[in-house]
C-alpha cells in the first residue's frame, strides 16, 4: 500500500484558504448599513426566490455569500439554534453573539478537519432596541475568523473596494432612503453597470416593528427609492 504524500500543515492551510477565497470572490457582494431606525442589508441577487438575506429570530438576521447550498445549510442551522434556545429559555435570551460564536466554531472546525472548506462568508446582525442598546454586526469568514463591525460591513466579491467606498461616504444618522442609496452606490463601485431593483435583494431589521423586526423591501418600494433624486 503506497503511503499518502506528505503535505506540510502550513501548505495545506494556505491551499484551503486560497481555495475558499477564490470561491467567495467569484460571488456577488452584500453590504450591511446601520441607519437611524435599524440595520439595512443589501445584496446583489437577481433571483427573487433564492435568498441571500433572511430572518433568523426576532431581532436577528442572516446574510451569506459564496456557495448557496453551504450558506443555506448554515442559515437553517442558525434558525434551529435560535428557536431551540428561545423555546427553552425566553425569546429575549436569543442573542446574535452566541449565534455568531456557533458559526465561528462550525466554520473553524470544517476548515481544519474537512478536505474541502466552506466557500462562504456570513453576517449575523442584531438590531438594538429603543433603550439605546447598540446594533451588533458580526462578520464570520470561511475559516471561522470572527470580527465585529461598526456602522457598515461588506463581504463577497471585491468587498475591499466597497468597504473603502463606505468608509469615505458613511455618515452617522442616515435615514432609510439615504441608507438604501448609499448601499446601492457602494455595490455599484466595482462594476460599470447600473443596478436596478431587479438585481437587488433588500431587507431591514426595523427597530419600530413589533416583535419580529425583519422585513423585506418589495421591488416597487425599492424602485421608488433608487430612482428618486439620483
Amino acid at each position: 500500500m503506497p503511503l499518502p504524500y506528505y503535505v506540510s500543515p502550513e501548505q495545506m492551510m494556505k491551499d484551503k484558504a486560497e481555495y475558499a477565497r477564490k470561491g467567495i470572490s467569484r460571488g456577488k457582494a452584500i453590504v450591511a448599513l446601520e441607519y437611524r431606525d435599524g440595520v439595512l442589508l443589501l445584496a446583489e441577487n437577481p433571483s427573487t426566490l433564492l435568498h441571500k438575506i433572511s430572518e433568523i429570530y426576532d431581532r436577528i438576521a442572516f446574510a451569506g455569500v459564496g456557495k448557496y447550498n453551504e450558506f443555506e445549510n448554515l442559515r437553517v442551522a442558525g434558525v434551529r439554534h435560535a428557536d431551540v434556545k428561545g423555546y427553552s429559555y425566553s425569546r429575549g435570551d436569543v442573542s446574535a453573539k452566541s449565534l455568531a460564536n456557533a458559526y465561528s466554531q462550525a466554520l473553524g472546525n470544517i476548515f481544519t478537519q474537512d478536505i474541502k472548506p466552506f466557500e462562504v462568508e456570513v453576517l449575523v446582525v442584531e438590531v438594538g432596541d429603543h433603550n439605546s442598546t447598540k446594533n451588533e454586526i458580526y462578520h464570520i469568514l470561511y475559516d471561522g475568523t470572527i470580527e465585529d463591525e461598526k456602522n457598515y460591513a461588506a463581504m463577497g466579491g471585491q468587498s475591499d473596494e466597497i468597504r473603502r467606498y463606505l468608509k469615505d461616504n458613511y455618515q452617522d444618522g442616515l435615514d432609510f432612503a439615504g441608507a438604501v442609496k448609499l448601499g446601492v452606490r457602494a455595490l455599484m463601485v466595482t462594476q460599470n453597470k447600473t443596478l436596478t431593483e431587479r438585481d437587488l435583494e433588500v431587507a431591514v431589521l426595523d427597530r419600530g416593528k413589533e416583535r419580529r423586526k425583519f422585513r423585506r423591501i418589495p421591488p416597487e418600494v425599492l424602485h421608488q427609492l433608487i430612482t428618486n433624486g439620483t
Binding site: H51, S54, E55, I56, V76, V79, R80, D83, V84, G86, Y87, S88
Partner: protein, 272 residues
C-alpha cells in the same frame, strides 16, 4: 451496478423533519418536549389537581373568525387565577384557544407557535391552514399519555385561509382527532352553555360588531351556568379576551371596547 437501499445523499429527501420544530426537539433536545411523568401513584383516580382553563369559543363572521375566552382558571371548586389569557396568537393568520389543563395547554400553544414560525423561516413560506390544523392535531395526540392521567388538552384552532379566502375553525378531541366546524364552536367546562347561547343568536354573515357581541354574550351565559367560567368582573376590571382574525391579520379587541359591550349587555339584561 446495484443501488444501495439508502445512499447518504438520499437523506436530504427523506428527512421530513428539517422544517418541523417539534421533530427537531425530539431529535436534539427531547427533555424539552412535554411528556408524561407517571403521576398515578401519588394521586387519586381523578388525576393531579392543577388549574384548568374553562371556556373558549370561536365563530365565523363576514370577514373572518372571532375567538373569545373567559379569564378564569379553576382548580376543582377553587379559582386558581382570575386573569389568564386563553387565546394565543399562533401566527399572523391564526390563533389557538386553550381549554383543559392550563399548564400543558399553554406549553402546547407555545410549542405550536414556535413550530409555525420555524416552518415559515426554514421554508420561506407559510404552512396552509389545513397544514397548521393537522400539526396541532399531532401535538394533541402526542399529549395522549398525559391526557390519560387527567391532564386533558383540547384546544380550538381558528384562522384565515388565504387560499380559500375565508375564515375557518377546527375543534379537536383528546386523541388528536380534528373536526372542522362551519359556524361556531365552544370548548371547555362552560362550552355546552356557550354553544347553546350561540345556537340561538348566531347568524351567518354577521358584521364584526354583531359577532363580537354574540361571542361575549355566549361567554356571559356560560359564566351564568357554569361554576368554572368567570364572567366580566366590573369591580376588578377583568373582561373576556376577544381576538379577531381576518385577511389583514390577527388583532386584539381593546379592553375598553369589550367593557362597553359587557356593560351594554348587562344593562339590557337588567332591564328585562
Amino acid at each position: 451496478m446495484t443501488l444501495t437501499p439508502d445512499p447518504s445523499w438520499q437523506k436530504a429527501f427523506f428527512d421530513y423533519g428539517t422544517s418541523s420544530f417539534a421533530d427537531l426537539l425530539r431529535q436534539s433536545a427531547p427533555h424539552l418536549l412535554p411528556q408524561a411523568a407517571d403521576l398515578r401513584r401519588e394521586e387519586s383516580a381523578g388525576g393531579p389537581s392543577v388549574p384548568h382553563g374553562t371556556t373558549v369559543l370561536a365563530l365565523r363572521y363576514r370577514d373572518g373568525v372571532i375567538m373569545a375566552g373567559d379569564r378564569q382558571a379553576s382548580e376543582g371548586y377553587q379559582v386558581a387565577s382570575r386573569r389568564i389569557d386563553k387565546i394565543f396568537k399562533s401566527d399572523d393568520l391564526s390563533g389557538v384557544g386553550i381549554a383543559g389543563a392550563a399548564g400543558p395547554a399553554m406549553e402546547m400553544a407555545r410549542l405550536f407557535q414556535t413550530e409555525l414560525e420555524h416552518y415559515e423561516k426554514v421554508e420561506g413560506e407559510n404552512l396552509s391552514l389545513d397544514g397548521k390544523a393537522n400539526k396541532l392535531g399531532q401535538m394533541i395526540r402526542m399529549n395522549l399519555p398525559m391526557a390519560m392521567q387527567g391532564l386533558v388538552v383540547v384546544p380550538i384552532f381558528a384562522g384565515f385561509d388565504e387560499r380559500a379566502g375565508v375564515g375557518r375553525l377546527f375543534k379537536y378531541d383528546v386523541t388528536g382527532g380534528r373536526y372542522e366546524e362551519t359556524e361556531y364552536f365552544a370548548q371547555g367546562s362552560g362550552g355546552k352553555d356557550a354553544r347553546d347561547s350561540l345556537k340561538k343568536r348566531y347568524r351567518r354573515e354577521m358584521s364584526k360588531d354583531e359577532a363580537v357581541r354574540v361571542g361575549i354574550e355566549a361567554l356571559m351565559d356560560a359564566a351564568d351556568e357554569d361554576l368554572g367560567t368567570g364572567g366580566p368582573d366590573l369591580q376588578r376590571g377583568i373582561y373576556p379576551t376577544v381576538r379577531i382574525i381576518t385577511r389583514s391579520g390577527f388583532a386584539e379587541v381593546a379592553e375598553d371596547e369589550i367593557r362597553r359591550y359587557c356593560e351594554a349587555i348587562l344593562s339590557e339584561r337588567g332591564r328585562a
